[in-house]
């Protein structure tokens, strides 16, 4: 463990997790605090702008990027439970501001600060034991943006393998796109679905009880198919496994989520338990 004293971290909770899976954000906070971070949550944040950027609507994407830069003005780390949002900030913003030198340097600086959760835990904090008591047979799906965009391949696997109750199994084609692709899944839903089906086949072939990933987007697509067909495997975000799993709401989650119909460790709408 690297740090002496608390490490200030700003949480970028992502619009998707905020609206659909607050449990993922809660889990992220818990894990960060467990390893000595003081977590700040800038409440003016919204979306990184990826949907606009990826669909070629750069004017709107730039407005989002400006907003993001205003929401995270301080120094220090920004951590997010999403490989694709982190990649957007790191690689998308410099493209958006390539003709605006002052903004470009701000964009680059914020790109240096942002980390995806598993990357932050392993590469920055040097975590080797996630101190999670999750148990079950788990397989891991590489999100394209986490793996190819940020180059994060080993960190999530290392963490998963270090959880004593986790039996980790690699699926075939773990690095193959799940077909979500944001706007792609809306524009070409049939192709998207075909890709998701192939992914789910590979997941089922492992016999795992859980499929996890560092991106909620992938889990929406994978989980949506699992839920529709009722396959016996449960999608769960990596942060939730690291936080200690489902059905065991932490103190924070327990009071905060009281009144919320489901335990925090649940990807909403992705049932099939």
């Amino acid at each position: 463990m690297r740090a002496e004293g608390p490490i200030p971290v700003s949480l970028f909770f992502t619009c998707l997790a905020d609206a659909f899976s607050p449990g993922v954000c809660i889990a992220t906070v818990e894990v960060l605090e467990r390893f000595g971070a003081t977590v700040r949550v800038p409440l003016s944040q919204t979306c990184c702008g990826q949907p606009a950027f990826n669909s070629g609507n750069r004017k709107e994407a730039r407005a989002m990027a400006r907003k993001f830069l205003r929401s995270f003005p301080d120094d220090g780390y920004i951590v997010t439970p999403s490989g694709s949002c982190a990649a957007m900030v790191k690689h998308g913003y410099p493209v958006l501001f390539r003709d605006e030198p002052p903004m470009l340097s701000r964009a680059r600086a914020v790109g240096e600060r942002i980390h995806e959760l598993s990357q932050f835990l392993v590469d920055v904090l040097g975590v080797t034991d996630p101190k999670s008591d999750f148990s079950g047979k788990v397989t891991y799906h590489d999100s394209c943006h986490l793996r190819r965009g940020l180059g994060v391949v080993e960190a999530p696997r290392k963490l998963l393998r270090a959880v004593p109750g986790v039996e980790f199994v690699e699926m075939e084609e773990s690095d193959r796109c799940c077909g979500f692709g944001g706007v792609f899944s809306v524009k070409y839903p049939q192709i998207s679905c075909r890709m998701t089906e192939r992914k789910v086949e590979r997941i089922l072939a492992t016999g795992a009880s859980y499929v996890t990933s560092g991106d909620l987007g992938c889990l929406l697509s994978i989980g949506g198919l699992i839920s529709r067909v009722g396959y016996p495997v449960k999608p769960i975000h990596l942060a939730e496994i690291l936080a200690g799993g489902t059905g065991r709401p932490s103190s924070f989650a327990a009071d905060a989520a009281s009144g919320d119909a489901r335990p925090p460790g649940t990807v909403r709408g992705a049932g099939g338990r």
Binding site: F20, N54, G56, G182, V186, Y188, M195
Partner: protein
């Protein structure tokens, strides 16, 4: 070749329901990929070679005028006649004129994507010339009256049963399901053509500036017969295929077959340098080189220059999950997969190929395998942005994006919307997934559920628990 890239969505849906195609795609792309991975793993210099190839191509493109001038001078000195075509119409005219002037009535053709771009066969037929495709795959689809669906395996979408039926109908051969027998039938048929054709037509993988040579990399001997047996040889090649020096060629010969089919080396490499010289035992008496600009100069001027580095290895197709799902015909023109999604709109214009840049999840697998390091996903993103700037986005999408940005600019507004959505979501779904969304999201929920919004979003929970307002 006929252009219908705008029908991508419709073509794709058809392809998804085509069982034969689906099987063939899985089989072939899987095999190419496995071979490629093994070949790259056994080639420790891959990264360094790739880097070098990328730099050589970049240099060639940065000084294309000079290298092209050199190529033309060297080729002419060795007896070749060089023609440069501005666009497809001019290229067809030149091709037809060459055939007429040379008194050709039968031409055998092999290995050329570029000629597909200009509808070469139709041009020659218009000049009274019969064109026979001589590569096995091309020969098959010519009999079927179809277009290629893969850069290096043009008939990947055909089963052996279909092929046997075609041979029965067009060549009068007996039905068989033995591949060697089918190959034998095609060979017998083609040999006769090679011997009687007045002109051999080829493409070209590389144009070597310092020797004026055209280089052909093939796995079938046909390409070689086509360049040697007929009296006249015509090569149809894009101007971007230039490499500066013969000394650069080995770099590409190492990369191309490994990336394409996973072979360490291709079966044949033909280097055609000018006409037959006195004392040469073989070779064409006349060599014509038809160099296609056809939009390439324009690409060279802009931000997409690097797309012209492409060596047409098809590695990006094989690895692309979208190509694997829908095959090559869905892309509606000569080039398919990620390279097609970028190159087609650049060559024919976004209005003619608007859907292609959107036909990708931006997963990045293509950029990982591209032997000349073309940033394909970045280019797809740029093209999507061009589409917005040039006014090719639908009013619906623009309105949606404006609405999205309007909401996301204000955290308070987002929170209010989330609250309403949360209440409605819980009310309608009872905490389960949503199984039917309205248009334009209805496709999403056809076979997948969508999560119901949380009753209390995280921002709310955080405020309650931590009492923080910032």
């Amino acid at each position: 070749m006929e252009l219908n890239a705008n029908a991508f969505g419709r073509n794709a849906r058809k392809a998804l329901h085509d069982k034969t195609l689906q099987e063939a795609l899985g089989r072939t792309t899987g095999r190419f990929l496995a071979h490629r991975d093994a070949a790259i793993a056994a080639f420790p210099e891959f990264e360094a070679t790739r880097e070098r190839a990328s730099r050589i191509k970049q240099d060639a493109l940065d000084h294309l005028d000079a290298y092209l001038a050199r190529f033309i001078a060297e080729a002419e000195q060795r007896g070749a006649i060089v023609h440069v075509a501005r666009d497809a119409a001019q290229a067809r005219e030149i091709a037809a004129r060459i055939a007429r002037d040379e008194g050709v009535t039968l031409a055998v053709k092999s290995k050329s994507m570029a000629s597909e771009e200009i509808s070469f066969n139709e041009a020659l037929q218009g000049a009274g010339v019969t064109v026979v495709e001589s590569d096995l795959g091309e020969f098959i689809i010519q009999l079927a009256g179809e277009a290629p669906s893969h850069i290096i395996a043009p008939a990947v979408h055909k089963t052996r049963e279909e092929i046997s039926r075609l041979f029965e109908r067009h060549l009068g051969e007996p039905r068989t399901d033995s591949i060697p027998e089918l190959v034998g039938m095609a060979r017998r048929h083609l040999r006769a053509k090679f011997l009687s054709a007045g002109m051999g037509v080829s493409g070209g993988n590389f144009l070597v500036a310092d020797t004026g040579s055209v280089v052909l990399v093939t796995n079938e001997g046909n390409g070689r017969m086509g360049t040697i047996l007929p009296r006249v040889h015509l090569a149809v090649v894009g101007i971007e295929k230039i490499i500066p020096r013969m000394a650069d060629l080995p770099t590409f010969l190492r990369l191309l077959p490994r990336s394409a089919s996973g072979q360490a080396i291709s079966s044949y490499v033909s280097i055609v340098t000018g006409t037959r010289r006195a004392g040469d035992p073989e070779g064409p008496e006349r060599v014509h080189l038809l160099l296609l600009d056809c939009g390439r100069s324009a690409i060279l001027e802009g931000k997409y220059r690097a797309i012209l580095k492409c060596v047409r290895c098809a590695a990006c197709l094989n690895v692309c999950p979208v190509y694997q799902s829908v095959g090559g015909h869905a892309y509606g023109w000569v080039y398919s997969g990620p390279i097609g999604a970028v190159l087609t709109p650049l060559l024919v214009g976004l209005p003619e190929a608007g859907p292609l840049p959107d036909a990708s999840t931006l997963c990045g697998a293509c950029a990982d395998v591209c032997p000349v390091k073309i940033p394909l996903p970045d280019f797809l993103l740029e093209l999507r942005s061009d589409a917005r700037e040039q006014g090719w986005k639908t009013p619906g999408e623009i309105a949606a994006m404006k609405g999205y940005a309007g909401v996301m600019k204000r955290a308070g507004l987002l929170e209010a919307i989330e609250r309403i959505a949360g209440v409605l979501g819980q009310f309608f779904t009872k905490g389960k997934g949503i199984s039917g969304l309205p248009y334009p999201f209805s496709g999403w929920t056809e076979r997948r559920d969508f999560p119901a919004p949380a009753a209390r979003p995280f921002r709310k929970l955080w405020k309650i628990k931590r009492g923080v307002t910032r």
